[in-house]
Structures are given as C-alpha cells and as structure tokens.
C-alpha cells in the first residue's frame, strides 16, 4: 500500500513525512519510524503501531480508535484533540506528550510512562492506567470516571478540578499531588499515599481516608 508516495508497511521509514489528513484505517505500521511526522487529522483507526517511533510526531486531531500502540515511543508527541477510545497503549512512552482534551475512553495504558505529560481536560473514563507513571503530569479538569489508577504513580501530578468518581485508587501514589477542587466522592483511599497532597476544596464525601476514617 502506498499513500502520498510513501510505502505503508511494518518498519517503514517515515520520519519527518507529511501524512496529514490521510485515511489509513487498519494500516500495518508496526515498529515504523514516524518520528517528527505530521499526522494532523489523519485517520489511523484500528491500525497496528506497536513499537513504532512517534517521538515529536504531530497527531493533533487524529482519529485513532482501537489503535495498537503497545510499547510505542510517543515522547513529546502532540496528541491534543486526538480520539483514541479503546486504544492499547500498554507500556508506551508518552513522556512530555501533549494530550490536551484527548479522548482515551476505555483505553489501556497499563504501565505507560506519562511523566510530565499534559492531560488537561482529557477524558480517561474507564481507562486502565494501573501501574502507569504520571509523575508531574497535568490532569487539570480531566475525567477519570471509573478509571483504574491502582498502583499508578501520580507524585506531584496536578489533578485540580479532575473528576475521579468510581476510580480505583488502590495503592495509588498521590504524594504532593494537587487535588484542589477535585471530585473524589466515595473514593477508597485506604491504601493510597496522600502525603503532602493538596486537598483544598476537594469533594471527599463518603471517601475512605488512608487512616481508615470515612469522610462526611
């Protein structure tokens, strides 16, 4: 398969290419080099991109439903306004990536590295982020409804205004995290680490705190 003169195949060398607005559903781009590529508004739904190099790639507004991105390199990639429901990003490296307003509903991000990523306004409803690294990540106003953040590391993450209703917070590290104005109604924080966390104006009604007490 050829698109814009470029061969679409596993291990394809597509660094710095312009593939914006292309329609490539179910493309096989496993372990391809797409670093610095322009994939703005591209449609890559259900494509195979595991182990691909997408570092510094521009995926702004891209349609990536059900995409396979296991162990992909997405460091400093731009995924703002991208649509990735049901995507598999297990073990992917998203350090410093821009995920502003991204749709990651029902996505799998087990063990993914999201250190210093921008997830402002992101929709992570029912996503699996168990064991993920979110150190210093910006999750301002993000939706984490029924999201699994068990054993995830959110040290110094900014969760102000985030909604965590029904989230699984077993063994979640929230030390020095900013939870100002966050919604944590009914959360079970018994095994969570909240050392130095900012809980000002956070809604903790019915939540079980690390000391075992239940909040009013």
């Amino acid at each position: 398969m050829k698109v814009n003169g470029f061969k679409i195949k596993p291990r394809a060398k597509l660094a710095n290419t312009n593939l914006s607005d292309t329609i490539l559903p179910s493309a096989d781009l496993r372990a391809a080099d797409l670093s610095n590529a322009n994939l703005t508004d591209a449609n890559l739904c259900y494509s195979a991109l595991q182990y691909a190099n997408l570092s510094n790639a521009n995926l702004n507004g891209a349609y990536l439903r059900g995409v396979m991105l296991m162990y992909a390199n997405l460091t400093n990639a731009n995924l703002s306004d991208a649509t990735l429901p049901m995507a598999d990003l297990e073990g992917a490296n998203l350090e410093g990536a821009n995920l502003n307003e991204v749709n990651l509903k029902d996505a799998k991000l087990v063990g993914a590295n999201l250190t210093n990523a921008n997830l402002t306004g992101a929709d992570l409803t029912r996503a699996d982020l168990s064991g993920a690294k979110l150190i210093g990540a910006n999750l301002t106003n993000a939706l984490l409804l029924s999201t699994d953040i068990s054993a995830a590391d959110l040290t110094e993450a900014n969760l102000s205004g985030a909604k965590l209703i029904g989230a699984n917070t077993t063994n979640t590290n929230l030390s020095a995290a900013n939870l100002q104005g966050a919604s944590l109604q009914g959360a079970n924080l018994a095994s969570a680490n909240l050392m130095g966390a900012n809980l000002q104006e956070a809604d903790l009604s019915g939540a079980t705190m690390p000391d075992g007490t239940v909040h009013d």
């Binding site: 508004d41 507004g61 891209a62 349609y63 990536l64 439903r65 649509t83 749709n103």
Partner: protein
C-alpha cells in the same frame, strides 16, 4: 468531506458548530465532539454517530432515518419533531433530552438511558426499548403500541390516558392488552 467549512470526519471536533439544514446523509461522525452543535433541519439519514457526544445539541426537525447512534451522548439535546425512523440508539444517554412529537417508529433504544426525557407525542410503535431506563420519562400521548419494553424500567414514568401501550411487550414479560 467538508460542509460549511467544517471537516466532517470521525472524531471531528465541532463543538457549537452551525450546521443547520446541512446535508450530512451517510456521513461518518463516529466519536465526534458535537456538544452544543446546531443541526436543526439537517439531513443525517444513515449517518454514523456512534459514541459521539451530542450534549445539548439542537437536532430539531433533523432527519435521522436509519442513523447509527450506538453509545452516543444526547443529554439535554433537542430532538423535537426529528425523524428517527429505524434509527439505532442502543446504549445511548438520552438524559433530559426533548423528543416531543419525534418519530421513533421501529427505532432501537435497547438499554438507552432516557431518564427525565420528554417523549410526549412520540411515535414509538414497534420500537425496541428492552432494558431501557425510562425513569420519570414523560410519555404523554406517546404511541408505544407493539413496542418491546422487556426489562425496561418505567419507575415514575408519566403516562396519561392517551399513552398507547396496545400489545406492548411489558417489562415483566407480559403482553399488554
């Protein structure tokens, strides 16, 4: 596809866009962000709107015949007088949506969440509402004849003497006579 300067594609971000009377028949808008969009009088016949967010959207008088809307969020949307003949609305969120005088004949609303929705004067004849939640839903003058309501929740649903449940398959599995 481009309409009124807007890119029509899956996952498109069209929040608050003006698409009144636009021709979007068979358009693929799966997973699109369409909250607050104005689609009054638009032609969406056979369009794909799966998992799209249409919160507060204006779909007054729109043609949604055979539209495929599985999992879409239509909270607070206005669908007054819209034509949803044979449309698929399975697992949709229809919370507080206004369907006054809409046509839902043969539509599939299985497992839809229609709490507080206004379905007055709606044609729901032969519609599939199995497992749907109709909590406090207004059903005044609605035609639900031959509809499938098996396993649906009609808790505090508001019916009147003109609500037609002729031969409807009721939540408890009985046929209404």
């Amino acid at each position: 596809m481009e309409v009124n300067g807007y890119k029509i594609r899956p996952g498109a971000k069209l929040i608050g866009a003006d698409l009144r009377n636009a021709n979007l028949s068979d358009a693929d808008l799966a997973d699109a962000k369409l909250s607050g969009v104005n689609l009054e009088g638009a032609n969406l016949k056979g369009a794909r709107l799966t998992d799209a967010s249409l919160e507060g959207a204006n779909l007054k008088g729109a043609n949604l015949t055979d539209a495929y809307m599985h999992g879409a969020n239509l909270t607070d949307a206005n669908l007054e007088g819209a034509n949803l003949f044979r449309a698929s609305l399975t697992n949709t969120n229809l919370w507080r949506a206004n369907f006054t005088a809409a046509n839902l004949n043969y539509a599939n609303l299985s497992h839809a969440e229609a709490g507080l929705a206004n379905l007055s004067g709606v044609n729901l004849a032969r519609a599939n509402l199995s497992g749907a939640s109709l909590y406090e839903t207004i059903l005044h003058n609605a035609d639900l004849s031959y509809a499938n309501l098996r396993g649906a929740s009609l808790y505090q649903a508001q019916k009147n003497s003109n609500t037609n449940l002729f031969l409807a398959w009721m939540p408890d599995g009985t046929i209404n006579k």
